[in-house]
């Protein structure tokens, strides 16, 4: 399964990619913001993990744009962000995010959320 990991923090991208490797997902593509993620996204990507606050294009704007593309309409999007007020979480849902992880996260939480979305990713 191929993952697209989007975060403007190189440290966070590395942590997420290493966490994915640890739970058995070694095929990853990285992007530093929403614009770059849109450019890198193609039909081979089966799962997206994105931050919210990024330059050029935020995670929510990226998700909205992704949902308008045929190959991105149903791909699972997991948002990993420091934002955690109710309004933000609802905004993320409205943008098309499938699940939500609050930073700082544990590898167990990441695994749980990915596992929950795997059937959709495999479909």
């Amino acid at each position: 399964m191929k993952f697209l990991v989007v975060d403007d923090s190189a440290t966070m991208r590395r942590i997420v990619v290493n966490s994915l490797q640890r739970i058995g997902f070694t095929d990853t593509v990285e992007a530093a913001d929403g614009q770059e993620a849109l450019a890198r996204f193609d039909a081979s990507i089966q799962f997206v993990i994105t931050d919210w606050n990024m330059p050029n294009m935020s995670g929510t704007d990226f998700t909205r744009a992704l949902r308008t593309r045929p190959e991105g309409a149903t791909v699972p999007v997991l948002m990993v962000t420091a934002r955690s007020v109710k309004e933000d979480i609802l905004t993320a849902m409205e943008a098309g995010v499938n699940n939500y992880i609050v930073k700082p996260f544990t590898p167990q939480v990441l695994k749980e959320k990915i596992d929950a979305l795997l059937p959709a990713a495999a479909a």
Partner: protein, 248 residues
């Protein structure tokens, strides 16, 4: 008090408070100009006391107007004082609150870095003990491979825990970006105030520097925190569950 410049509208999200403060300061400046003008008029009407002998008030048409001028000046000064009080209140409710929250954020950065450092050091200690344990297993005449495998697994967990602890870097950088944006905003306000009292202050130079120093507000969350991640995650889970349940 010779120039009177209307504040330019702010485009930033926090423009309301800044704009209101600028408006109050502008009105204050206008009131002070009126006082200045009144005092100029008073100076013109009053003879030069160094060169002309004092004239009895009853004989002097200029001085007879003095009470009225002073009364007007007094009203204007009272207006200025009211404006200054309002200006001070506006600064207190916006600037001071923001500075207080910024101070808290910086304190949190300190504690978050310390917590992360302690977690990493603890993990290092445990990892070192595990390496020693692996050495001891290797030194045995018949090394217990199963036990060594378990220790290696635990060692990997510790190394992974160290990496996870580095998440503080992302959050603290957002907190520092927020703190930086508040400082830049305060600098901008101080420049606006300085400009009221001295028209020679070159605001363009400051404005350019301030604009360059302002962090991109899209790149950070002002409420970012390393605290209570479990309860915040629980809130997110609850919202997702409830909204999905209601939609079903």
């Amino acid at each position: 008090m010779r120039s009177c410049r209307r504040p330019q509208p702010d485009g930033a999200a926090n423009a309301m408070s800044t704009h209101r403060t600028q408006e109050v300061l502008y009105e204050t400046e206008a009131a002070l100009r009126l006082v200045d003008h009144g005092l100029d008029g008073l100076r013109e009407e009053r003879p030069d006391s160094d060169h002309v002998a004092p004239t009895p008030p009853s004989m002097d048409g200029g001085l007879s107007a003095l009470p009225a001028i002073l009364e007007r000046a007094n009203a204007q000064i009272l207006g200025v004082l009211a404006r200054l009080r309002e200006s001070r209140a506006a600064l207190e409710t916006t600037a001071l609150e923001k500075l207080a929250s910024t101070h808290e954020k910086i304190q949190e950065v300190t504690s978050a870095t310390e917590d992360a450092a302690i977690n990493i050091m603890d993990a290092c200690d445990r990892a070192t003990q595990m390496v020693d344990e692996l050495d001891a297993i290797d030194a045995e005449p018949t090394p217990d491979r199963e036990r060594a495998g378990t220790v290696r697994g635990s060692l990997r967990d510790e190394l992974f825990l160290m990496m996870g602890a580095l998440q503080f870097q992302d959050i603290t950088s957002q907190q520092l970006a927020h703190a930086s944006s508040v400082l830049v905003e305060m600098e901008k306000r101080l420049i606006d105030i300085a400009r009221l009292f001295d028209t020679r202050v070159d605001t363009d130079v400051f404005s350019t520097r301030v604009a360059a120093a302002m962090p991109d507000e899209q790149t950070y969350d002002p409420n970012a925190t390393t605290r209570d991640s479990e309860s915040r995650q629980a809130l997110a889970d609850e919202i997702f569950t409830t909204v999905r349940h209601n939609a079903a």
